[in-house]
Structure formats: C-alpha cells, structure tokens
Amino acid sequence: MKQNLIGALCAMVAMGGSFAQTSKKPAAKPAPAQVAEAKDAATLEFEKFRAEMEESNPAELFEMKGEEQWKTKRGPNNVSLAESCDLGQGVGKVEGAYVKMPRYFADADAVMDAERRIVWCMVEKQGFKFDDIAKRPFANANFTPDITNLVTYVAGHSRNMKLDVPLKDPKVREAYEIGKEIAAFRAGPYDFSCNTCHGSDGKRIRMQNLPNLSTAKGAMSGVQGWPGYRMTGGVMLTHQWRMGDCFRQQRFPEPKYASDAIAYLLTYMIGNANGQVYKGPGIKR
C-alpha cells in the first residue's frame, strides 16, 4: 500500500489520540462520561490536523477543474452551464446556490439537491444522456466524473454561508417529511434504518462518532465537509455518494443515482442543519 506523508501524519494524530485516551482512563471500569471525554480528545486532535489540511485542501484542484467545465460549452447542444443552468439563484449564478439547496425547481417539477440539479442541467440543457452520467457517477482512484468537479465548484461558492433550505416551500416541506420517513424506515438483512445509527446521541462505530441527524448540530456534522476530498486514496466524493454509501453499509439495495429518495433524505438532513455555517468543500480521512 502506498504510504504517504498524509498517511504518516494521520497515524501520528491517531496515536496522539489513543495516548490521550489511555492516560485518562482509570484502571477500574470507566464511567461512560469519561469515555466520552477521552473520545473527544481524540476527535480534537484530528480536528487540529484537519484544520491544517483545510488550508491546502486538494479539493481546490477539483474546484478549478469544475469552474472550467462550468464555463465551457460542452455536450451535444454545445452550451455551457454558465449560460443555461439555473441553480435557483438565476441562470449561471453559483454564489450561495449550494447552501440554498435542496429546493423545488418548477421547470423540473422536482425537489433537487445540488448534484441532482446539475445532472438535470447537463441532460436538459447540454444534451448529455442521463444513463451515461449515471453509469459512473462517482469518483474512484483512476477516474473523477465531471459532475463531481462541477458540484465541488458550486459548493466552493457557498463557503462560510449559512445553510438555508427553503423549508417553508410546501413542496420542500413534503420532501423533508418523506426524507424523515426514509430515515426511519427499517429494512434489509440487518433490519437497520438510518436512525439505528444516526437517530440518537452518543453512538459510534469503533472510534468514529456518529452524528445524530435529527439534531441541528448532528445534522450539520453530516453536511459539513461534503463534497469532500478523501485522503485515503486521494478521491473527491460528493454528498450523493455518501448517502449511497450509508445504504451500502445498511445492506440496502443500491439507491438510484440522483433519485427522489436521495434528494428527500438530503432535504431532511440539510434542512435540520439550517442556519449553521457551511465551510465549503472539505477534507476527510
């Protein structure tokens, strides 16, 4: 496996974290409160590292690429998204668009998150085929789809803005309520729902704290940092990808790309985080 500087730093941070934990843990059975405290120390160490990396986040490289693709005439119709795509703030306007989605788009008669909307524009305005985009919608080690660059570019223009999903819009509200239902829907071989892991406070998988998505703070930590650059493998991934990965971890069937279900779940999640500051494309371990 390729060991790199980032990996080494990561390991250092992880070690620092576990030291902090062992030194704090008393010999006897630790009280739950103390475990929580030690866990937070590890998290804090990682936060420091992340803050350092945020200043030079490779996500910016994808933003640059996305900007170029946003402004270039492309597709069978030979139009640019900058002159045809309305993200809710007017044609071609990207400033602050990401934090105001998902929203209802009358031209598509659907509630759409940022990624779904850009896909819609690529299909309807530029003439790309949806099936071609949906065939390989997410990045891997050797390939980053255009849509990922574009989402990263758009998200980068909502840096340090407050999330403002228009929940007062009845269509968006309906999507929010359905999203809430989906989050509570138990199924699959494990009889899991999203809420099994993300519906109450203090849950974790190994050292990974799991946010409670029904609270504003928890929902925010599920929104913050997406789209994100994964240091493991150096891959840029979107919020849509993350939702699909949660489905996979629950052993659910794979959700359809850019579907209603994912848009509704994102409406529920981002809606719950409304009013908090989004820091732009992030960096993930």
Binding site: K2, N4, L5, N142
Partner: protein, 103 residues
Amino acid sequence: MADPMKIRATMKGDVAEVRILMAHPMETGQRKDAAGNTVPPHFIQTMTVEVGGKKVVEGHVGTSVSRNPVFGFKVKGAKTGDKVVVNWVDNKGDKRTDEAAVA
C-alpha cells in the same frame, strides 16, 4: 496536458508562506489494477520554485509522495508582489509551470 497547480503565497511578517497544490496521479508502479496488470509508474520527479527571480527550492520527488501532493514552506527575504514560479517534470516527461504573486 497536466492540470494546473494552485499556488498560494502570503506574507506573514517578513516571511512568505508558500503553499502549492499539484494535481498528479503519482502512481508508484507497484499497484495492480482490477485485471491484475501492474499500473505503470507515473510520478513527479523534479520540481523547482522561484521566488522573485531567485531559485529557492530544487526538489527531487519520488513515489512515496501522495496523489495530488501539497508542498508548504517559508521563504525569508521575499516581499509582496514577488512572482512565485513553480514547475515540475514527471517521469514521462510531462511538465507544468504555474505562477502566482506573493500577497
């Protein structure tokens, strides 16, 4: 052609802090793809940085450096407006030069 770099250079007191983000796959030549074939090595071999016309870094970069690498360092004696010129050459002979000004 290679994708552009992102260069950020800011004065912190009398020292310029330079951060360079490079877009590169940095293949080690040790990885195998899904079909079991070795992925040929493809990595940045040398890089140079000039600040204000003076060469400040001449670096040899190898396969232990990550994909999309970040380089950061501090330069004494630079001033606002100085041109920062970065260039790299990889093992396939592909190269890239980008520049920015110290802010």
